[in-house]
C-alpha cells in the first residue's frame, strides 16, 4: 500500500502550542500536580508525556513523574496486524495505587490501544483515576472511549493514515495526513 502525504495538519509550532495548552488543562483539571503521573504509551506517547511534564515543570516548578507503558502483550489485534512490534519495557515511577494517571498517546483512533493500555495499567495496581491525553483524535472509535485532553480533533477517512512525527523518534515535529495512492473512498 503506497501512501502519499495529503496535508500537514500540525507543524512544530502548532504542536508545541497544543502541548502547552494541554499541559495547562491537565494541571487546571487536577488542581496542581500533586499525586499526578504522566504515563506515555510506547513509543510516541513517551516523548509526548515528557514534553507535557517539561511544560508543567516550567509553570508549576514541580517535576511530574513519568512512566512508560508497553502494551504489546495486551493487544487484541496481534495476529491480525502485519507489523510485529518488539515487546518493550514497562517502567513506572513507583506504585500506581492512589495516583491520578494521565495516559498519553499520539493518536486516538479505534480506541483499542487505549483499551489495552487501561488493562496494562490496572494490572500494575489500582490508580485513583485514569485520564487520557492524545495529540490527535481522528475519530472512528470502535469502543466506548473518549479522550479527556485533545491536542487537535481531525476528521479523517478510514482510508487515511495519520502520521505523528516527533523529534525524538522521527527527527522533526509535525503531524501529517497520508492517503492511499489510487484508493477509492
Amino acid at each position: 500500500m503506497a501512501l502519499r502525504q495529503k496535508a500537514v495538519i500540525l507543524d512544530a509550532d502548532a504542536m508545541t502550542r497544543a502541548l502547552r495548552r494541554m499541559s495547562h488543562e491537565v494541571v487546571e483539571r487536577h488542581g496542581g500536580v500533586s499525586g499526578l503521573w504522566l504515563v506515555g504509551i510506547r513509543r510516541r506517547g513517551v516523548p509526548l508525556a515528557q514534553r507535557l511534564a517539561a511544560e508543567m515543570a516550567a509553570f508549576e516548578r514541580a517535576q511530574v513523574p513519568i512512566g512508560e507503558l508497553d502494551i504489546t502483550l495486551y493487544r487484541d489485534d496481534l495476529t491480525t496486524s502485519h507489523e510485529r512490534p518488539q515487546v518493550g519495557r514497562t517502567q513506572m515511577p513507583g506504585d500506581p495505587r492512589g495516583k491520578t494517571i494521565v495516559l498519553v498517546d499520539d493518536v486516538l483512533y479505534t480506541g483499542r490501544t487505549v483499551r489495552a493500555a487501561l488493562d496494562a495499567l490496572i494490572d500494575l495496581g489500582r490508580p485513583k483515576q485514569i485520564q487520557l491525553a492524545v495529540l490527535i483524535d481522528r475519530g472512528h472509535r470502535e469502543l466506548p472511549l473518549r479522550a479527556d485532553f485533545v491536542g487537535k480533533n481531525v476528521p479523517t477517512s478510514r482510508l487515511e493514515v495519520v502520521e505523528v512525527r516527533l523529534r525524538e523518534t522521527d527527527g522533526r515535529d509535525e503531524v501529517a495526513i497520508m492517503e492511499q495512492v489510487g484508493a477509492t473512498p
Partner: protein
C-alpha cells in the same frame, strides 16, 4: 528454524540453537528482559497468550524446566497441559507422534517436550503437527537452558561478546553444554571445555567451536564465566568417570580454587547440583554464583520463546 519477516524473526520451532546469530539471540534476550519486568510485578500475569494451550510433554524427569515452562505459560495467560510421560520403550518415534496428534486434537497450540533420545524434538518438529520447543533431547540440545544462562550472564556482566566461558564436566553427554557452547559462541564468547578426558574427547572442541583443556587450573584461569555440569551417577557406573572423590580432586570447584584461579568469574550450574562433587556447597553462597538467577532467568526466556512462537501462530484472537 527461523525465518526473517520484516526485520522480525518469526520462530516456528526451537529445537536447538543451530544457525542462531548474535542478533537473533540478543533480540530474544531483549524480549526476555520485558518478560522479567512482568515477573517482578505483584501480579505477574499478562493476557498475551490467553486462550492458547501449551502441552508439556516430559518423557524424562525434570523439576525446574517443567515448572518454569508452567510458570511462563501462567504469566502469559496461556493454559498448560501436562501429559504424563509415556514410558513405553517400544516404537518411541511413533508413540511420540501419536501423542502429539492426540494433543493437537485436544486443542494444544504448541508443545514443550523433553525426551531421552537425541533428535526427538527435531523429529516432532518435522512432523509438522505442532510448534515444538525442545526442553532437552538426549545428549543433543537444551536451548532454553542456554538462553537462560545467556540472559543471567548478560544481566550480571552487561555483555556477551568476548567473554571467556569455561564449561567443566561431562561435556560428552551434556545437552546443556552443547547448547550453551553454541549460544555463547554465537554471541562472541570464547568457549573452553574441560573435564576428564573420556568425557571431554578432543573432537568435542572443533564440533562446538571450542578449545579443549583437560587441566582445570589452565582451563579456568582468566575465565569470566565458569559453568559446572552435573556429574551423572550412571556415567560413573559405566566407568567413564572416576569416583566422586577423584572427580572432586581433579575437576570439582570449591571456593578456594575459584578464589585462586578466577576470583572474578561467575559460576553457573544447570542444576540439580551434586553438592560436594562438581561444586562444593559453599560455592552456591558466593556472590559470584548465578545458580539462583538462572532459575528466574529460565522463566523469563521461556516466556519470550513461547510468545515468539505462539503470537505468530493461528489467526484468531482479534
Amino acid at each position: 528454524m527461523t525465518a526473517a519477516v520484516g526485520g522480525w524473526t518469526a520462530l516456528q520451532h526451537l529445537c536447538d540453537l543451530d544457525g542462531w546469530t548474535a542478533s537473533d539471540l540478543e533480540g530474544l534476550l531483549d524480549t526476555a528482559e520485558s518478560m522479567a519486568e512482568i515477573l517482578r510485578r505483584p501480579i505477574p500475569r499478562v493476557p498475551a497468550l490467553r486462550g492458547r494451550t501449551v502441552l508439556l510433554l516430559f518423557y524424562e524427569a525434570s523439576t525446574r524446566t517443567r515448572h518454569s515452562f508452567e510458570l511462563a505459560c501462567k504469566a502469559l495467560g496461556a493454559d498448560s497441559l501436562s501429559l504424563a510421560a509415556a514410558t513405553s520403550s517400544a516404537a518411541k518415534g511413533e508413540s511420540l507422534l501419536d501423542t502429539l496428534r492426540t494433543a493437537r486434537t485436544l486443542g494444544a497450540d504448541a508443545v514443550a517436550m523433553r525426551h531421552p533420545d537425541s533428535g526427538a524434538a527435531a523429529l516432532a518438529a518435522a512432523a509438522g503437527l505442532l510448534p515444538v520447543i525442545n526442553a532437552g533431547d538426549g545428549a543433543h540440545a537444551h536451548p532454553t537452558q542456554a538462553l537462560a544462562d545467556l540472559f543471567a550472564v548478560r544481566r550480571r556482566l552487561g555483555r556477551l561478546a568476548d567473554l571467556r566461558l569455561t564449561i567443566v564436566g561431562d561435556v560428552l553427554h551434556s545437552r546443556v553444554a552443547r547448547s550453551a557452547a553454541q549460544g555463547f559462541r554465537a554471541c562472541g564468547a570464547l568457549v573452553t571445555l574441560c573435564g576428564p578426558p573420556p568425557l571431554v574427547p578432543p573432537h568435542a572442541g572443533p564440533a562446538l567451536g571450542a578449545r579443549v583443556e583437560h587441566d582445570l587450573a589452565r582451563a579456568v584461569t582468566g575465565a569470566d564465566v565458569v559453568m559446572a555440569l552435573r556429574v551423572q551417577r550412571e556415567r560413573q557406573e559405566q566407568g567413564l568417570v572416576p569416583g566422586a572423590a577423584d572427580y572432586r580432586a581433579g575437576w570439582g570447584l570449591d571456593a578456594q580454587r575459584l578464589q585462586s584461579l578466577c576470583p572474578q568469574a561467575l559460576v553457573l550450574h544447570p542444576g540439580p547440583v551434586n553438592r560436594g562433587v562438581e561444586l562444593s556447597p559453599e560455592v552456591l553462597d558466593l556472590p559470584q554464583a548465578v545458580v539462583g538467577e538462572q532459575v528466574t532467568a529460565g522463566v523469563a526466556v521461556r516466556m519470550a520463546v513461547l510468545y515468539r512462537i505462539l503470537e505468530s501462530e493461528g489467526a484468531e484472537g482479534a
